[in-house]
Amino acid sequence: MTGAGAAGPVPGSLGAAALPQLSGHAAIVVTSSTPLWYITRATGLVALVLLTIGMALGLLIAVRLEGRQWPRFITIGLHRNMSLLALAFTAVHVLTTITDTFVPIDLQDAFIPFISPYRPFWLGLGAIASDLLIALTVTSLLRARLGHRSWRLVHWTAYLCWPVAVLHGLGTGTDTRTRWVLLVTLLCVAAIACLTGWRLADGWPAHPRVRVAGAIALVAVLVAGGAWLISGPLQPGWSQHSGLPALTHVTRTGS
């Protein structure tokens, strides 16, 4: 799960237990030390970077980049290993998320989309991304048994896995407004956008009109994504809209 930026609460807001108190409309917030929560957010960001590297290497394989000092099988090997590393960091990301009691996220929330009480939509995207990453890895490991066509069909979902992971990271909003986290995420997006543009320019898909449509779609997605980012996650109060559970709910399930 690639996701970057873990699904996260406002640091310093809803802790392991949040007690609605004080004359009906006030609250006393109780929190606990949460090193696991910091690890969750950190491994989420690193998993996104690794997933981006893996995706970028996959695109470089597709455009058949190779040189005398850099044969193609090195790119293929690195692509495979980066994907496995991304999966490992995603596993730590998921494990620390469900182990930590800072937010009420269970094991099933990490794999079944949109059932989490905590930021259900954005956490659901993370669940989809992790499911897709697992499917991609398993089918790649079983590629010889699956056959090339089936493997390729599943491998196409990589183009869905990566943007969903990016949206998960940005949409949960825990660290979106942190400048260097935003910079890392934008660099990831820029790298994949450039390489996708390269692949389109390289002559894939074969039909020119499809390539033009793909290029237009790429630009449109980038513009729409930028507009959404500015008007959404970068705005103050985004966490309110992104599905922070009620204090009462956190109290009931969070600790």
Partner: protein, 113 residues
């Protein structure tokens, strides 16, 4: 194919595989160290927020601090001390800003979206 050509090809393959392994190990190590550093940076950010006091409306962690009950400081004991104004873990924090209504808009979210 001559024997020396085969030997050269095998050596090139082995060299390539070694490079893949070495690069993977390095990137993995960078990932682990980077994760630890980022985690520490996040705790520092929370620590900075704690040191700056509850009057600030924006959390430097950039995490949407518009929750009414949030008090950027003092609620992350995992953060490193910066000014010594942090509260101990598990301490009760009286909200310095406006508080969340018990039946506020966030209540509707818990059912899913």
């Amino acid at each position: 194919m001559r024997r020396d050509e085969v030997r050269f090809a095998v050596a090139a393959r082995d060299d390539g595989l070694r490079r893949v392994r070495r690069l993977t190990l390095r990137i993995g190590a960078v990932g682990v160290v980077g994760s630890a550093a980022i985690a520490v940076a996040f705790s520092h950010l929370s620590g900075s927020a704690a040191a700056s006091g509850p009057a600030r409306g924006a959390n430097p962690a950039g995490s949407g601090t518009q929750q009414g009950s949030t008090q950027p400081g003092g609620t992350q004991p995992g953060g490193t001390g910066q000014g010594g104004t942090q509260q101990g873990g598990g301490s009760l924090q009286a909200p310095a800003q406006n508080v969340v209504p018990a039946q506020g808009p966030a209540q509707g979210v818990s059912g899913g979206s």
